[in-house]
């Protein structure tokens, strides 16, 4: 096209703003931008306020004043001036024999013989059976701080024999102790261990299955009607209410596969778990629950691997599998691990399906394998919040803090792993 053919004037009359109009126009556009900025800021602030309120509520419950009354004061249990905490095993047993009825002693002996119990265990029995601390009342953190005098006066007036003390419900003992029906002595060790067992097996089962299905669907499955139906169904499964997975787990893992999930076919014969309500059943149920989530995320991650990378591999005479294994998977790993983080978060907080599958509400023995009875933190929290006594709500608050911490540390592990992968891909390391 030569110069002469070009139109000399613009075909459209120029009505674009100029000079001071232009300045005003630009200023107006900036104003629009600022309005949106404030809207986005506002939504962030709302989120932060909600989170703060949640944390405030939990922390408020987890710490505060309590009025404690011991049936037997620990000071009276000193032997030859040695305080209770430093007594030997035998001395503790003798204290037990002194204060506890013969029938109870026989029952304790038949559960686990005294000779086989650790000193800590016996010490705890002394606390539970002899000292029997009873928390008469508890107050929340804010009240405890601002109305301390009134509370103290109230105690002196109503419970002259009780002592007022500040109690952090979340304390080392709370994490170390197993479940107990005495709020002052209850702990979450069994629940933490149960949660860890369940989550570990869930991830061990769900991660390879999810990644494998994602690889198949993205790399191998051809685009036909059957595969599209499968894909749609996986997407839908991610939105199915978790209780339905619980019902499925109850029918399949607890009932139909009972010999497998109770460990009978592996020769595990634990009289206390002679049914399928085990860690394994719970893990498999949760694995089903998070599987769609894992598959969808892994598929997204695999799809995001640039085609140029695959082509580079194929152009060197690589087979499909070599391309997937050496190039696609390492590049997709950060995305896959992000999905795994989401899956862990979802699984660790699930309550409903576990209640259906048969999480025990009261487990005082540590789970020691896939075939143990179990309880998990959310189940424990749920159970405590539904008790009428105030003290259990304090316990629930402390257990929520433990759950949040556990969740954070598990996720931190996955985030670290992900960062290592993405650094390697970006070539920083």
């Amino acid at each position: 096209m030569s110069v002469s053919e070009r139109p000399s004037a613009l075909p459209v009359a120029c009505t674009l703003p100029k000079d001071h109009l232009l300045k005003r126009h630009i200023a107006m556009r900036h104003r629009v931008g600022r309005i949106w900025y404030f809207l986005f800021l506002l939504s962030t602030i709302v989120g932060i306020i909600a989170l703060t309120a949640l944390l405030y509520n939990i922390v408020n419950q987890s710490f505060g004043l309590v009025a404690v009354q011991n049936t037997v004061e620990p000071e009276t249990l000193t032997i030859n001036g040695v305080p209770l905490e430093e007594l030997t095993r035998e001395q503790l047993v003798s204290i037990l024999e002194q204060y506890v009825s013969k029938g109870v002693m026989r029952r304790l002996e038949s559960e686990i013989p005294f000779a086989m119990r650790s000193r800590d265990n016996i010490y705890q029995l002394v606390q539970e059976r002899v000292i029997r601390p009873e928390i008469l009342m508890s107050w929340q953190l804010v009240d405890s701080v601002f109305h301390r005098e009134e509370i103290a006066a109230f105690i002196v007036e109503n419970y002259p024999s009780a002592r007022l003390q500040f109690r952090a419900w979340l304390n080392p003992d709370f994490i170390r102790r197993p479940q107990s029906s005495v709020p002052a002595l209850a702990g979450v060790r069994t629940a933490i261990l149960g949660s860890l067992w369940v989550i570990s097996i869930t991830i061990l089962v769900a991660f390879p299955l999810g990644l494998g299905a994602a690889i198949y669907l993205e790399e191998y499955a051809s685009d036909n009607v059957v595969n599209r139906i499968i894909q749609t169904n996986i997407n839908n499964l991610a939105g199915v209410p978790s209780i339905i997975y619980g019902i499925l787990g109850l029918a399949v893992f607890v009932r139909a596969l009972e010999p497998l999930t109770s460990g009978v076919i592996f020769g595990v014969n634990d009289p206390t778990t002679a049914n399928g309500r085990t860690v394994l059943s719970a893990s498999l149920t949760l694995a089903l629950l998070v599987l769609p989530l894992l598959i969808i995320n892994a598929q997204e991650a695999i799809r995001a691997v640039p085609r140029s990378l695959r082509e580079g591999s194929y152009a060197l005479g690589a087979t499909k599998w070599e391309t997937i294994w050496h190039h696609v998977l390492p590049s997709a790993m950060p995305g896959v691990l992000t999905g795994t983080i989401l899956a862990i978060s979802r699984a660790i907080g699930e309550t409903a399906p576990l209640v259906v599958v048969g999480a025990s509400t009261f487990v005082s023995l540590d789970p020691n394998g896939p075939f143990s009875k179990f309880t998990t933190l959310p189940v424990q929290i749920y159970q405590w919040t539904s008790r009428p006594q105030d003290q259990f709500r304090n316990l629930a608050g402390a257990a929520i803090l433990v759950l949040l911490f556990l969740l954070l540390s598990l996720n931190a592990g996955a985030v670290l792993l992900r960062n290592r992968y993405s650094r390697r891909i970006q070539g920083i390391s």
């Binding site: 152009a315 060197l316 050496h326 070539g427």
Partner: protein, 276 residues
């Protein structure tokens, strides 16, 4: 007419031989049509690629140059919905035959892409990987060094072979991709606009490199840049879109002849810059 040159002797062909071989012709396309779904991208192309020469494929955007190039090592197989009609003979056998494994085709016909696409691994690993999966036994360090030297990259990277390939500049990355391609000693190297993403200095380096490599390899290069085609190639093929937007071969011949005395009016218009 079967003549065993040294290249043929060391290429233990597992591809079934269908046609008598032409000593000077490595790749021959006969009546190639490529479809993406219903769209015909390349129409009825017949071309013979000469051994140990650089053949440039030029033409306006969207005329199917890259598509044609990618039919030579079955790279189009990877694009869903694509379909190739016609025959492409490599050393006398049709690579689109049913029992030909595309993996073997790509092992013997390497490719360098428009955008440098090194693997997100170390420089060393980028070169070594292809050789390793293809069953290379021997001194890997020596192979890596030799490939990087051939690609004129050795001096720049020899002190940090373990660094990520992504820390290299664009031109270095492209030369790394060339090193990676020649490490598996292919018989033909396809280059899809290898210098289009590079600055003039890096472009010159790549062009010098091609002149070096053509002593041992057959090179087919797609380029937008006619000066580049004129500078570097021995043969030039000019592709153009037909009225139905399918690319077709307008003219093919020695570069000197195509650029100085084109037989076709459209070629002349294109190389003199009258359109496109």
């Amino acid at each position: 007419m079967t003549i065993f040159t040294d290249t043929m002797a060391n290429s233990s062909l597992s591809l079934p031989i269908m046609e008598p071989r032409d000593a000077d012709c490595v790749i021959e396309a006969r009546g190639v049509n490529v479809y993406y779904g219903d769209f015909r991208a390349v129409k009825d192309i017949t071309i013979k690629i000469q051994r140990r020469k650089i053949t440039a494929i030029i033409g306006p955007s969207g005329c199917g140059k890259s598509t044609l190039l990618r039919t030579f090592n079955r790279m189009n197989d990877l694009i869903p919905g694509s379909c190739v009609e016609g025959e492409v003979f490599f050393e006398g056998c049709n690579i689109y035959d049913r029992d030909v494994d595309p993996v073997e085709v790509r092992r013997r016909i390497g490719m360098v892409f428009q955008k440098p696409n090194p693997f997100p691994k170390s420089i060393y690993e980028n070169v070594a990987w292809g050789a390793r999966i293809n069953g290379f036994r021997g001194d890997m360090d020596a192979l890596v060094e030799q490939s990087l030297r051939q690609a004129a990259l050795w001096d720049e990277v020899k002190d940090h072979l373990r660094a990520s390939a992504l820390t290299l500049s664009g031109g270095q990355q492209q030369r790394l991709c060339i090193a990676r391609a020649i490490a598996i000693q292919p018989e033909v190297i396809l280059m899809d606009e290898p210098a289009s993403a590079l600055d003039p200095i890096a472009t010159l380096k790549i062009e010098d490199l091609m002149r070096e490599l053509v002593r041992d390899y057959t090179i087919i290069i797609v380029t937008h840049n006619m000066q580049e085609a004129a500078r570097v190639s021995d043969y030039t093929a000019f592709l153009m879109m037909d009225k139905d937007r399918a690319g077709m071969l307008v003219e093919y011949g020695p570069t000197d002849q195509v650029f100085t005395t084109p037989r076709d009016k459209r070629t002349e218009d294109y190389i003199t810059g009258r359109f496109g």
